[in-house]
Amino acid sequence: MDSSRSAGIDRRRLLFGSAVIGGGVLLAGCTSNHKEDTPTSDVKTAAASGSGSGNEALGKHVVIGFSAPAADHGWMAAITKNAEAQAGAYSDVHLEAVEGTNDVNAQISQVQTLIGKKVDVLVILPFDGKALTAVSQQAMDAGIPVVNLDRVFDSPLAYRTWIGGDNFGMGLNAGLYIGKTLKDKGVANPVIGEIAGIDNLDLTKQRSSGFRKGLAKYGFKVDIRQAAQFTADSGQQVMSNVLQARSHLDAVWNHDDDQGIGVEAAIKQAGRDEFFMVGGAGSKHAMEEIKADNSVLKATVVYPSNMSASAIRVARLIGQSKGMGDLVGTDLPSSLTLFSATVTKENVDQYLPGAFS
């Protein structure tokens, strides 16, 4: 009965509505674009240098399949970008990268797709190593060598070579740095804080156990430990509460520089500066702060995001049946653990180009 009337109003409203949306979108277009005219990928320079062993020479064409978790934070985004940049630098490499996902089930399907495509070598950074072990083993069984990047598979049958960071070493080096600095200052019973990353990840546990080990060398202990979520807002939230819990701190290790932005914000908002902080992962922002030396952040322990570029190189060598340049022998090592360097004001310039933003 009133349908015709309401249809009329509908049309007018819809027109008005779409005009509003259109306006919004227009405004949107204006504000967004042209951000960051500074170059973002310092990867190529880091990648283009490196070995001089004759392995750079053009070889057999290799198709590399690449699967990693969703690039939802700085470090992981850099992983994917570095892999792509490295593959692009070789004319004999073709990279089949699938869209990153944090859904284990989806990642399994993606790897299966890559197996079906019969790529020559697979590079897999599993969201969860245990969950992807079976499918990786399928790939190996199908004759496709797998380069396991960073998060480890459960069985050595599931990969040809593992390459990744050293979470234990990261914590260890952070602990050693904090321990030594406090010892040098002559602090007797220091109050040491630890802001961990996502607590149910294996890597977080390893980092924390390394940290304890490093501090133990100097006879120190972690006084307060709280976990954030690798995000700036969780870091801010946790740190603002930790600062209430301890009215005096001597040193803090924060596992991740992305969440560190929030941690530092909390420290500034609380007006605290009686302690020093060590970061983790090695973001560009953190390194710039260390260089400027105007905040509590005095050092960070690197978890190299350019490891994915190395993984692509390793995958290429496997595909071309070559060994590693400076090592004796024709076969690639089965495992490569990358060093977690401690970056301070003194050596920061050396690491800034490889940092992720």
């Binding site: 349908s3 309401s6 509908d10 409203r13 819809l14 509505g17 509003v20 949306i21 919004g24 405004l27 949107a28 504000t31 967004s32 674009n33 042209h34 951000k35 960051e36 005219d37 973002t40 690039a71 939802d72 934070h73 700085g74 992981m76 985004a77 607590d199 307060i224 430990r225 709280q226 976990a227 979520q229 690798f230 995000t231 700036a232 807002d233 969780s234 870091g235 801010q236 939230q237 946790v238 603002s240 509460n241 930790v242 600062l243 209430q244 819990a245 301890r246 009215s247 992305d258 932005i261 929030g262 530092e264 914000a265 500034k268 908002q269 973001s283 922002h285 933003s357």
Partner: protein, 351 residues
């Protein structure tokens, strides 16, 4: 959310079914209107008292377990922690009382925070950034509202789609990197204090006060309750249900925009992973605050008490250096307990 399945204006295949239950719905509304209002008010007050009791209990636990709890400074930290999620919860309360749900709040916060921190936007300084965040929030809310009210898509579906879209867009714009804010006046939103109290707490107080007046003292508020209670009856009573629904989602989006400004200043950065799971936090707060998930009933004060309960728990756990898993269990049990109490509180009034 049952009313969402019915087309709002009664045209289309739902007419026959809608037609039959209109009279009874109408009478139910009329008879329940006066008697129900006062009973409702009483139940709401009782529930708020219950929440205040829980909060007091938590404070006692906090004060006993840690010397650092009952300090002025720590209370301010709790209030500041509650500020961001509190402002979001104000909008969420309106939407849920109005019979909808907004699952996209966390993603809207992320999108607004990313958008207002792009290099281009930061060039406009303080005003430009705040304006951008508010407009982005409101426009996303508008899109939600239009799709739900005029596109007749269920709120749950629409906002879950928006959750994915807005977060994706945020990732796209930021290129998944944290965008550090270099405009000091913007960051000072989080560090400035008036009379010793952080500005963020004032913003929360203002949002709650305005929200309370809007909900309880204006026609807009009464319409919200009416539409959430029975959409069909509200329409027959001459309310423009669709327009009002759009406004509710715009309000929620705007609250997210404000929250984005606060969160961005607090973390001194915009990132696409900000506001993760805020939708669940805000909905949980609304529910333990005594608002019915089906709409039509609720209390803004309850929602804010809910937020305070959650932030206080977090604070106590950190002060005592306990791990997050225990914290999660405690939160879960509190939600469950609140819902059970809520059900008991409702039984007599519906019988």
């Amino acid at each position: 959310m049952s009313q969402q399945t019915r087309p709002p204006d009664g045209s289309g295949p739902g007419t026959a079914a809608g037609g039959t239950d209109v009279p009874e719905a109408g009478t139910a509304r009329r008879s329940g209107a006066t008697a129900g209002r006062s009973a409702l008010g009483r139940v709401g007050k009782v529930r708020n008292l219950g929440l205040i009791a829980v909060l007091t209990l938590l404070c006692v636990i906090g004060a006993v377990s840690s010397d650092n709890f009952a300090t002025r400074q720590n209370i301010l930290v709790i209030l500041t922690s509650a500020a961001v999620i509190g402002v979001i919860t104000v909008g969420q309360t309106f939407v849920i009382i109005g019979g909808g749900i907004d699952l996209s709040v966390g993603a809207i916060v992320a999108l607004a925070s990313v958008w207002c921190t792009t290099v281009a936007t930061q060039d406009y300084g303080f005003g430009g950034m705040v304006f951008c965040a508010l407009v982005v929030g409101a426009v996303v809310g508008l899109v939600n509202g239009l799709v739900i009210a005029y596109g007749r898509v269920v709120a749950f579906i629409t906002t879950i789609a928006m959750m994915a879209t807005a977060r994706g867009l945020a990732e796209r714009i930021s290129d998944r990197q944290s965008q550090v804010v270099t405009v000091d006046s913007f960051n000072s939103i989080a560090s400035t204090r008036w009379l010793g109290v952080p500005v963020l707490v004032y913003i929360l107080a203002a949002a709650v006060l305005l929200g309370w007046v809007l909900l309880n003292r204006t026609t807009f508020g009464r319409r919200t309750f009416a539409i959430g209670g029975n959409q069909e009856a509200a329409r027959l009573a001459g309310l423009d249900v669709r327009r009002h629904t759009v406004l509710l989602y715009v309000l929620s989006g705007l609250c997210c925009g404000i929250a984005a400004v606060m969160l961005t200043a607090r973390t001194t950065s915009g990132a696409s992973n900000l506001g993760d799971l805020y939708e669940l936090d805000s909905i949980a707060s609304v529910i333990i605050g005594g608002t019915l998930l089906t709409g039509g009933r609720g209390s803004l004060v309850g929602s804010i008490l809910g937020v305070l309960v959650f932030t206080t728990i977090t604070n106590i756990f950190v002060l005592n250096n306990l791990t997050t898993d225990i914290q999660q269990i405690a939160k879960g049990l509190i939600i469950l307990a609140a819902v059970l109490i809520q059900r008991r509180g409702n039984t007599p009034s519906t019988a």
